[in-house]
């Protein structure tokens, strides 16, 4: 693999996308061509991608609804518009591989293999949630599927992921760590320190930057002197490349290649997936700072609708099949909401259960109104 960043992929949907024509095409030859554009993935696999993307779309819409109903508290950042990236990335990992993410991670949690019921229950702050209700939207965790945390501090997960890769290297394991982050993260010190350390020590970690063009309301161009973010890998003699984040197959291919290279050689890499955030930074953000052209581009780039069209055009899916998948995921999300709503709240008596892993003398268990003595 090249030492430096050399490849540049399309930055958004459209011009060079693998995506094909319209679903109205009945032309057999064109359908064959559309099918070829989908590569060698089996129809089952392609339909599964569509199903996962649809599930994340519906899940996030219901999460937003839960937020407006005050069932979900705190901050709530959604993967709307990033479904192709999420599914493409997660499909390239083994179950035993580790994933660290930022706070926009509901979709990752689901696609890495956590039951949506438990993801929704975490949003609802219930004991059945991924972190027993102690973490919330930004702090999902599940050892069984290798999700080692969503993290609320921008870039906090980057040194941690590097350290997890160090542990794999230390023990001679064959897992790979994927470290997901947003575009804004590439400007903080921890990112650069960790890229340097990972390259220096040859650690099996793939740094994935989701470039959705916006860090809250700040555009990449406003924040980054080098706005082609994958090029930052060059400074660490690390392979870096950019992929169209709206193309689930392109993401899966690039990610899979870098993950397997890391697994084989222990070398880190950086992947920049360019996508759009369809809504505001979080549920409460109306995104008034976005230009109408930008907002329109984000809507036009909708990866779920586009992939649906692509599968229909290629004959991998018909309208009935697509509707069936959509009804199934709708039912899954309804069930997740019901599960969350029916799950118990943590009891206040458990407040001090998770401060220390090793019990310790004189640990304070004082409630606000309690006297010290």
């Amino acid at each position: 693999m090249a030492e430096t960043a050399t490849r540049s992929k399309p930055t958004s949907s459209g011009s060079k996308s693998r995506r094909g024509g319209t679903r109205s095409s009945g032309n057999r030859a064109q359908q064959t061509q559309e099918r070829a554009a989908l590569g060698s993935e089996s129809p089952e696999q392609l339909r599964d991608y569509f199903k996962q993307m649809s599930l994340i779309r519906r899940f996030e819409e219901r999460a937003a609804q839960g937020y407006t109903q005050a069932k979900v508290g705190g901050y709530c950042h959604l993967n709307l518009g990033e479904e192709a990236t999420v599914v493409g990335l997660m499909s390239s990992l083994h179950k035993s591989d580790y994933l660290f993410t930022n706070y926009r991670e509901h979709g990752y949690a689901i696609a890495k293999g956590i039951d949506p019921n438990r993801v929704m229950a975490e949003l609802y702050g219930r004991t059945t949630g991924t972190s027993k209700g102690l973490g919330g939207s930004m702090h999902m965790f599940d050892t069984d599927v290798g999700l080692l945390g969503g993290y609320g501090i921008v870039g906090g997960q980057v040194p941690l992921a590097t350290g997890a890769a160090l542990a794999i290297d230390y023990r001679g394991g064959d897992q790979v760590v994927m470290c997901q982050m947003g575009d804004g993260t590439t400007n903080i010190g921890a990112f650069h320190e960790s890229m340097n350390i990972a390259a220096l020590w040859k650690l099996p970690v793939v740094f994935v930057v989701i470039n959705n063009h916006l860090g809250m309301g700040t555009t990449v161009d406003m924040a980054s002197a080098e706005s082609e973010l994958y090029k930052r890998a060059v400074a660490y003699r690390m392979h870096g490349e950019r992929v169209d984040g709206n193309d689930v197959l392109a993401v899966n291919e690039a990610s899979g290649r870098l993950v397997e290279h890391a697994r084989k050689t222990g070398e880190p890499a950086m992947l920049e997936a360019v996508s759009y955030r369809m809504k505001g930074h979080s549920v409460v953000d109306p995104a008034k700072y976005r230009s109408s052209e930008d907002a329109q581009a984000a809507r036009a780039a909708d990866p779920v609708a586009a992939f649906r069209d692509q599968l229909l055009s290629a004959g991998v899916l018909d309208e009935d099949g697509a509707s069936e998948i959509e009804q199934t995921v709708q039912a899954d999300v309804d069930a997740a909401v019901a599960f969350a709503d029916d799950s118990p709240h943590p009891d206040p008596s458990t407040l001090f259960d998770y401060t220390y892993a090793t019990p310790v003398a004189n640990d304070s268990r004082r409630l606000p109104a309690d006297p010290v003595f």
């Binding site: 209700g133 102690l134 050892t143 993290y151 590097t162 350290g163 320190e193 220390y356 892993a357 003595f373």
Partner: protein, 331 residues
């Protein structure tokens, strides 16, 4: 029983624990080839190799965070932060991450790691290299903070810290590395969260930790010898959790207290101790609780200014005399 330095006690303990558990590894700046800024890790690279003694770039946030991530997967890193001043570069990873891993994810993961780091002034290192900011970490639930004052305590507390499944900030002090003390051949791990009465007395309680616990004992011995004053010395040993019981029990007995601390007074460790005494021994007090703490300035380089700013045996002795005088008026 052998008499060894505080430095040797740390070195020996690291080595013993590395021999006992291959998941233990050391990570930090200049700890390998350079053998440590204060030579705690001397010889360990040669004995254990680069995998177990890992020199890092100057990137505190990066390597402390990497240690947290490695600890989450079951390794047991011992991080050396060259001085506590540099820990500020890693504050996010210590406070927002190491301290939160166990609680924030509902007990599914934890970060069994030790952050060794010296504080302390008095070496003419100027304002940025002389601070005592252990309070920043002692403030945070999820962290444990210990501060041994003697070679024996250093060994017992380092053993305990390395066996603990939580992140422990292990406070050392530049002025302690060359101090000597008796260390038994077999040292059991200390109990984190426990203070100790290191010198019994009945007239006044002096509370200290790290370097100032030693100063307190020296002052108490001198007062006994010169004036027949019986001072009880409590060494906190652990700043989080804080053993308020031992402090309060002593003050209930003596009726007065002086706190000796190397950090700044306002909002400092002593403020918490004084508040605890107020909580638990209010009716027993015969004089206001006094605090001997550093002057609130960026520590100057020039020797006379530095000396004037830092707590000492003299300033502690003065505070003890004034407190006992106040008690005399009362009794």
């Amino acid at each position: 029983m052998a008499v060894i330095t505080y430095r040797q006690a740390l070195h020996d303990t690291l080595r013993e624990e590395m021999l006992a558990d291959e998941n233990v590894f050391l990570i930090g700046e200049e700890i390998g080839v350079f053998e440590g800024s204060y030579k705690i890790t001397a010889g360990l690279l040669d004995e254990f190799g680069e995998k177990r003694v890992r020199d890092t770039p100057i990137a505190e946030e990066g390597f402390v965070g990497a240690a947290v991530g490695a600890a989450m997967l079951g390794l047991r890193p011992v991080v050396e932060l060259m001085t506590i001043n540099f820990s500020l570069l890693a504050l996010d990873q210590i406070v927002n991450h190491a301290a939160k891993i166990y609680g924030m994810f509902g007990g599914q993961s934890n970060a069994p790691m030790v952050l060794r780091t010296p504080g302390g002034g008095g070496q003419q290192l100027g304002a940025t290299h002389s601070q005592n900011i252990e309070l920043y970490y002692a403030f945070v639930p999820g962290l444990k903070v210990v501060a041994p004052s003697t070679p024996a305590d250093a060994k017992a507390l380092l053993k305990a810290s390395m066996a603990d499944n939580d992140p422990v900030l292990f406070l050392e002090n530049l002025a302690l590395y060359n101090t000597k003390g008796e260390v038994p051949d077999e040292v059991a791990p200390a109990e984190i969260g426990k203070a100790g009465v290191v010198r019994p007395g009945s007239d006044i309680t002096i509370i200290g930790y790290s370097r100032m616990a030693n100063v307190a004992t020296q002052v108490a011995d001198q007062l006994q010898q010169d004036e027949g004053i019986s001072a009880e010395v409590v060494d906190l040993r652990s700043l989080r959790p804080l053993d308020r019981e031992t402090v309060v029990e002593s003050v209930r007995k003596t009726g007065c207290a002086v706190i000796a601390e190397d950090d700044w007074l306002t909002y400092g460790v002593g403020a918490e101790i004084a508040a605890s005494i107020s909580d638990g021994a209010f009716d027993y007090l015969d004089a206001p609780v006094r605090r001997v703490a550093a002057a609130e300035v960026p520590l100057p380089y020039a020797k006379p200014l530095e000396r004037a700013a830092l707590p000492s045996a003299e300033s502690l002795t003065t505070a003890v005399h004034q407190t006992l005088e106040a008690v005399g008026h009362r009794r």
